[in-house]
């Protein structure tokens, strides 16, 4: 247990110092700050544009971090042979893998928090989209208002973390069976298809109408195509549930049930993929 924690800390430190991590981080921060200028191109709804733009930047960069670092963390360790000294210590391979993965998860949380903080600061300065909470007691002069991000934005950050860690576990698994480049490509594909599969599945549903009191199918997609899409929809994870940018843009609160369900959904997939990775890794020749 203690060894896992040290492994996590070490892994986090290593990722945090890596070029790829901070270039993504810095790039996202530039985009977030730049969202101000983007919003200036419009006269209406500047806050919404900023939110849309920034949330997009934050999620896409964290997903990139998840995919690229997920695909390279263990792969590079093996490739550069720096793993040799680690797993020849009295350490179980699973302990190493857990440490590595938790370090990556920590890096994702870290980058999301930093990006959100900067985003929050930009919103504070612009005085847009923030909601006042709580007043301090006392007379009107001392009145101090604390502004917070609206609930759906905070939940969106939580979802971005869940989703990025999830896709990282997929990238890690792929990197144990193929090359780093292929693993990244597969992970991107899984992410992309997982994002549109829900909508695709809706599209191929038969279109029904009620005509003269009877349900009539007016359009039916090709059966084979429908079966394939339905299969993909069932097998691949559904990533679109983590995207709540429209709720965020309209400040619609997300129910506790939905938050809980979606996070559990992401976490159980992550654990499942990690267990598979761990089984593969345990018997793998490392040379």
């Amino acid at each position: 247990m203690k060894k896992i924690l040290y492994g996590t800390a070490y892994s986090f430190k290593e990722i945090k110092n890596s070029k790829i991590f901070y270039s993504f981080l810095i790039f996202a921060l530039i985009l977030i700050s730049g969202s101000y200028f983007v919003s200036q191109t419009s006269f209406i709804n500047q806050g919404r544009i900023m939110v849309d733009f920034s949330i997009f930047a934050i999620s896409i960069f964290n997903i990139f971090i998840g995919i690229f670092i997920g695909a390279s963390a263990v792969y590079d360790d093996i490739e550069k042979k720096s793993i040799f000294l680690t797993i020849t210590r009295p350490l179980k391979r699973t302990e190493y893998l857990i440490g590595r993965f938790l370090g990556l998860a920590a890096a994702i949380i870290f980058s999301t928090v930093i990006m959100m903080l900067i985003f929050y600061a930009v919103l504070l300065i612009m005085h847009k989209f923030i909601v006042p909470v709580g007043y301090s007691a006392g007379n009107v002069k001392d009145k101090f208002t604390f502004y917070s991000l609206p609930q759906p934005l905070i939940i969106q950050a939580l979802f971005i973390i869940t989703e990025s860690i999830f896709i990282a576990s997929a990238a890690l698994l792929f990197s144990l069976i193929t090359s780093k480049a292929l693993a990244s490509i597969f992970a991107i594909l899984v992410f992309f298809i997982g994002n549109v599969s829900g909508r695709m599945n809706d599209l191929i549903m038969p279109v029904k109408k009620i005509i003269n009191g009877k349900i009539v199918i007016v359009h039916q997609a090709n059966h084979i195509l429908a079966a394939i899409v339905h299969f993909i929809y069932t097998v691949l994870p559904n990533f679109s549930i983590f995207n709540i940018s429209s709720e965020a843009a309209y400040k619609v609160n997300i129910s506790a049930g939905a938050i809980f369900y979606r996070i559990i959904y992401g976490l159980s997939y992550t654990v499942l993929l990690f267990v598979i990775s761990s089984l593969i890794f345990a018997g793998k020749d490392i040379s």
């Binding site: 203690k2 060894k3 040799f84 000294l85 490392i286």
Partner: protein, 263 residues
């Protein structure tokens, strides 16, 4: 009564190569016992299977057949490595971390507590203490080798496995490293190291194992091999051998390897 520290029994390892995954043996039916408190040199030409054997011992790769026991535990069990230090061939470390951060981390992975003094001692012994605050990816080859050595001797392990410890070291480094081995030898550690430098054999080893083409062709005490070598040298009048090799032992080992090489 000396015990057996490491025992390899009929170990075979093949790799699958090429598009069709044809089997290619790297190590063939290797049986070898490494005794407690002895220095065993593991010699053989390039590609003989030395590193493959060592990786199987330290649990990086699994034998295709046969079994390896260290201190009673199977090599794939993490407990086999409780008292084992390993220096890989061409070691390397993650980017962006200082030498001291790296060795600190490795010290945490051991089952016993290692204090700062012990870490400093290991660094000093390996001769890399002066560079502890430099990022390890900026180290030269020899410096990296030294840091890896420091990591491998942390926690005073009973068994030390070095894969080509002398490669990449300058003459001073080689001398220092040999001195370290002597020191460890005095402290009755079990040492198993691979090398292709035949000259290392006599001064360092108690026992010599020679591997050629994945097959063990000799495994004896140095004294016995020396006797054999002298007999061999007397019979063999032809002394036009490469100037590289001067002692009968070196010539004997050289000829052994040459003869057993695949044609």
């Amino acid at each position: 009564m000396k015990g057996i520290m490491i025992e390899l029994k009929n170990v075979t390892k093949y790799f699958r190569v090429g598009f069709f995954g044809t089997k290619k043996n790297a190590v063939e039916n290797l049986s070898l016992s490494i005794e407690e408190g002895k220095v065993t040199g593991f010699f053989g030409p390039n590609g003989a299977g030395k590193s493959t054997t060592i990786k199987m011992i330290v649990g990086l790769i699994n034998p295709s057949d046969g079994g390896i026991k260290i201190n009673g535990y199977d090599a794939s069990d993490y407990r086999a490595r409780l008292k084992l230090g390993y220096l890989p061939e061409n070691p390397s470390f993650p980017r962006g971390l200082k030498g001291i951060e790296i060795i600190n981390y490795y010290s945490k992975l051991l089952d016993k507590r290692i204090n700062k003094d012990e870490i400093y001692d290991a660094l000093k012994l390996a001769g890399i203490f002066y560079a502890k605050n430099i990022q390890a990816n900026k180290y030269s080859k020899g410096m990296t080798q030294r840091l890896a050595l420091a990591v491998s001797i942390l926690g005073d392990p009973e068994i030390l496995i070095f894969d080509e410890p002398l490669s990449g070291l300058d003459p001073i480094g080689r001398k220092e490293f040999k001195d370290i081995i002597f020191k460890l030898k005095e402290r009755k550690k079990t040492i198993f190291f691979s090398s292709h430098v035949l000259a290392d054999s006599k001064e360092l080893c108690d026992s010599i194992a020679v591997l050629v083409n994945g097959r063990l062709i000799k495994n004896k005490d140095v004294a016995d091999i020396e006797k054999e070598a002298e007999g061999y040298a007397e019979k063999k009048k032809d002394y036009r051998l490469p100037a590289e090799y001067s002692t009968p032992l070196e010539i004997y080992l050289y000829d052994l390897m040459l003869k057993n090489r695949k044609n």
